[in-house]
């Protein structure tokens, strides 16, 4: 094992592999920045190209691409309010307001730095404790995953500040929309109206593109070029955070990174979920809760550190046991098979040289991402110099292409536009969109695991309480929900008064 560790490092520093990592980072960033083109898709399409490479070179390139796409998604999220990948949806909430305040460069720099910290953390986890953590995955069956999803639902509370009723409405609508499609345990089509394209449910990415991009495009076209503050055009602001800012963002990045690793580890949940979890926790720990949603740096750092950390987390079960942790790693596993490496528990032993090369490549890919990112992002910020009336229609075009490209389906283009209209309605009535997104992400997971758990428990709901992991998670979810009610606030005040100490209210942006 020890020797593979160094063999892997020696393999990675081979100039060809370094070049492959940089190439992967560039492609990944581009793919990530384009709405609708996902990392999974790019990996699947580039896979045949890597057949002619040596296994370690091909895998290094694909791993780098996967990682870079996670960052790339934030570029469009910040500049255009259009998440390039589902994992960047949470970045929109504070990233775009920052850009509107003229801090586009700073927001992107924060995103890049947070991505680096999250990525490095997860690479370290991969290189050191992967075999140990891999076994943890087996503890997560349907019952436990259901509890994780329930905990995720409580995030809706955080995201609907302002109007709880409207937030809950939005979240409930998301959950309802998520039930469209074939019932996972009986195969009965629900709410499909006989339309085959709806049998697999509403494609989440298609919905996301519509919800965020179309209202944004309409807004840009309607507003035209307002003078002054509304232009996202100041690119001269410093991109990378100062030393002091870096220290300030560190606790948030590390916490979010750990959230990302754990979420990546759990089967069925990935970057799209992790970024919301991290955003929620960042807000919980922050002193300036009211600033969230108006462009606070912590709101950008959290989701971006988390979604890059997911890459390492998702790879842990993949390499320790041969179980794919996400759809992207499933495709990566396919890449291993092509080179005659059967994914399974022997990846760390029989094929240790290739596996450790892959792990080191993930670490190096973070550095490559950072370097490529600095230049690529500078170029991207130029987008903000383009007049709004041009950018708006371009967003629509990209959205149509993106929606079509996911499943090669014209139906999805229509669906995207329908969700665009829904997004416009939501904006008009000031209904928050993020709870709807959470509902759409977690709905299918809740649906599937609830039915599975009840089948396993023979219809007995006690199965959720008898299981220690799920009981704990559900208790946390209950507390989290109660926290938002007046009851809990009252108790909190009582406790605080009895202790007799007020908290200092001054604090930084973190």
């Amino acid at each position: 094992m020890e020797s593979f560790f160094w063999v892997g490092l020696a393999n990675v520093v081979d100039p060809i592999n370094i070049a492959a990592i940089f190439a992967g980072a560039l492609i990944g960033m581009f793919v990530g920045a384009m709405p609708g083109l996902s990392a999974t898709m790019a990996i699947a399409l580039l896979l045949p190209l890597t057949y002619s490479f040596r296994p370690e070179t091909g895998l290094a390139m694909l791993a780098s691409l996967y990682l870079a796409a996670m960052y790339g998604g934030s570029i469009a999220a910040i500049l255009l309010r259009t998440p390039g990948t589902p994992a960047a949806a949470a970045t929109v909430i504070d990233g775009h307001p920052m850009a509107r305040k003229g801090q586009a460069g700073k927001a992107l720099g924060l995103s890049l730095t947070a991505s680096l910290i999250g990525g490095i953390l997860s690479s370290i986890a991969l290189l050191t404790v992967a075999p140990l953590l891999g076994k943890v995955v087996l503890n997560f069956g349907p019952v436990e995953i259901f509890a994780v999803a329930v905990l995720g639902i409580t995030i809706i509370g955080t995201l609907s500040q302002g109007s709880t009723i409207l937030g809950l409405f939005s979240g409930a609508l998301g959950l309802l929309l998520a039930t469209v499609g074939m019932d996972p345990t009986t195969g009965t089509p629900r709410f499909t109206f006989g339309v085959l394209d709806l049998f697999s449910g509403i494609n989440f990415t298609v919905a996301l593109i519509g919800l965020f991009s179309i209202p944004q495009a309409v807004r840009l076209i309607v507003e035209g070029n307002a003078k002054g503050e509304d232009r996202v055009s100041k690119i001269r602001d410093r991109m990378l955070p100062t030393g002091r800012e870096f220290v300030q963002m560190l606790p948030n990045s590390i916490r979010s990174g750990v959230i990302g690793i754990v979420t990546g580890l759990i089967p069925g949940t990935g970057g799209d979920t992790a970024s919301w979890f991290a955003y929620n926790e960042a807000k919980r720990f922050a002193k300036n809760k009211a600033d969230f949603g108006t462009g606070t740096p912590a709101g950008v750092v959290a989701p971006e550190a988390a979604n890059n950390a997911v890459v390492g987390g998702a790879l842990i079960p993949t390499i320790a046991l041969g179980i794919p942790g996400s759809s992207s790693t499933a495709v990566l596993l396919g890449g291993l098979m092509v080179h005659g490496i059967l994914p399974g528990p022997t990846l760390m032993t029989d094929y240790g040289d290739v596996t450790y090369t892959l792990l080191w490549a993930v670490l190096f890919a973070n550095v490559a991402l950072f370097v490529v990112g600095i230049f690529f992002t500078r170029a991207c910020v130029a987008v903000t110099k383009i007049p709004n009336r041009v950018v708006g229609p371009v967003i629509v075009v990209l959205s149509v292409i993106g929606a079509y490209a996911i499943n090669n389906s014209m139906f999805d283009v229509g669906l995207m536009i329908a969700f665009g209209v829904l997004g416009l309605v939501f904006d008009t009535f000031r209904i928050p969109t993020p709870p709807l997104v959470i509902g759409l992400i977690l709905g299918p997971i809740l649906d599937m695991t609830l039915q599975q758990s009840l089948l396993i428990g023979k219809g007995n709901w006690m199965i959720f309480i008898e299981n220690p992991i799920s009981a704990t998670l559900l208790a946390i979810a209950l507390l989290s929900a109660l926290q938002a009610t007046p009851l809990f606030g009252g108790i909190g005040r009582l406790v605080k008064r009895s202790i007799g100490g007020g908290r200092p209210t001054t604090g930084g942006t973190e």
């Binding site: 083109l37 999974t40 898709m41 699947a44 399409l45 580039l46 896979l47 045949p48 190209l49 002619s52 995955v137 087996l138 503890n139 997560f140 069956g141 349907p142 019952v143 074939m182 019932d183 996972p184 345990t185 009986t186 195969g187 009965t188 089509p189 499909t192 006989g194 085959l196 394209d197 049998f199 697999s200 089967p267 069925g268 046991l321 041969g322 179980i323 794919p324 759809s327 499933a330 495709v331 396919g334 098979m337 092509v338 005659g340 059967l342 994914p343 399974g344 528990p345 022997t346 292409i401 079509y404 490209a405 499943n407 090669n408 389906s409 599937m448 599975q452 089948l455 396993i456 023979k458």
Partner: protein, 325 residues
């Protein structure tokens, strides 16, 4: 569109040898579009990536993949059956049992196998029953007896409603008279992972996907659902020799639309035959854990027809019970 263009570019880049008309072949088109009902990178794609480079060389034509995922392949197969011109220029990867169970289970799916022209089956991944390494079941009989003693309590995972493992469970219930508690998962991986972690009592899955775990001792194999014992798992009995008439698995092959030109079909079959006999192909297939099961032309059509009959019968029996849940 975008991904099609990229795929096209890649195919062109990789299959340059295919562009040189080395053999005096006269396949009706220079390019064959291959519709896949599942995402790039899945099982169908694995077959395409394995077979098509060899096939391109044999026929001197280019193969272009088009991914049309959704409704467990039904969108692609509906398009194949209803909207595809039978000129030899478009074929599709056909996966069983989904090809037939789709329309048997859902009245809104309207294509049938009578509207397609089966060309050849290429691979079959036999079904297998696995349990966790520390499971109290050591033999298939242990498992059956437990299910007999407490009907409906032994939990058995499968890869999803309508998939091969789901129908294998149903067939097994009919064959043995026991009642299992069937738990569907989203694919084979989650199903055998749940068995490995002891979340369910057993998993009906496939050999190709679970073999590394069996070899490593993380999963115990109780029985395989193949005609004969497998060379890689000589100690695992077949369900047949244990007295259950159960042979099942998931197969992948190629089909065209109805009215597919006969010469083109014969040419494809002959080329595929040469490919599966190619030692280099066999070596790569073995490395990727693909079990070659070449059944061509009318034999493939007969296989699909037989499956259709079996599944129709099973579904008619249990339909009401399932949909009542």
């Amino acid at each position: 569109m975008k991904s099609t263009i990229i795929a096209l570019a890649l195919t062109a880049a990789l299959g340059t040898t295919a562009l040189t008309p080395a053999m005096a072949q006269d396949y009706p088109t220079n390019e064959v579009k291959v519709m896949q009902g599942f995402k790039a990178g899945g099982g169908s794609d694995a077959l395409a990536q394995l077979v098509q480079p060899f096939l391109a060389e044999e026929l001197g034509v280019n193969f272009v993949n088009e991914y049309i995922p959704g409704a467990t392949g039904a969108i692609a197969w509906t398009r194949l059956a209803k909207q595809t011109k039978p000129d030899g220029g478009t074929i599709s990867i056909t996966n069983t049992p989904m090809l037939t169970t789709n329309y048997i289970m859902n009245p809104s799916i309207t294509y049938t196998i009578d509207e397609i022209t089966p060309i050849a089956n290429i691979v079959t991944d036999p079904g297998i029953a696995v349990v966790a390494a520390d499971s109290p079941f050591n033999t298939f009989e242990d498992f059956v007896n437990a299910a007999k003693e407490n009907p409906g309590t032994v939990t058995v995972g499968n890869s999803g409603v309508g998939g091969d493992d789901y129908f294998t469970s149903l067939q097994f219930e009919r064959e043995s008279g026991v009642q299992l508690q069937k738990v569907p998962f989203q694919g084979d991986g989650p199903s055998w992972t749940a068995a490995m972690g002891g979340k369910i009592d057993a998993s009906f899955t496939n050999v190709g996907v679970s073999f590394p775990q069996i070899k490593e001792g993380n999963l115990k194999a109780l029985a395989v659902f193949s005609e004969e014992r497998l060379p890689d798992l000589p100690d695992v009995p077949t369900a047949k020799e244990l007295g259950y008439d159960l042979v099942a698995g998931s197969s992948r092959g190629y089909s065209g639309p109805a009215g597919f030109p006969d010469e083109a079909r014969q040419e494809l079959i002959a080329a595929m035959q040469r490919v599966v006999e190619n030692p280099e192909f066999q070596k790569i297939a073995a490395e990727r854990a693909m079990n070659i099961d070449f059944i061509s032309g009318e034999d493939y059509a007969a296989m699909l027809k037989k499956q259709e009959g079996q599944y129709q019968e099973i579904w008619a029996e249990i339909k009401d019970e399932v949909q009542k849940q």
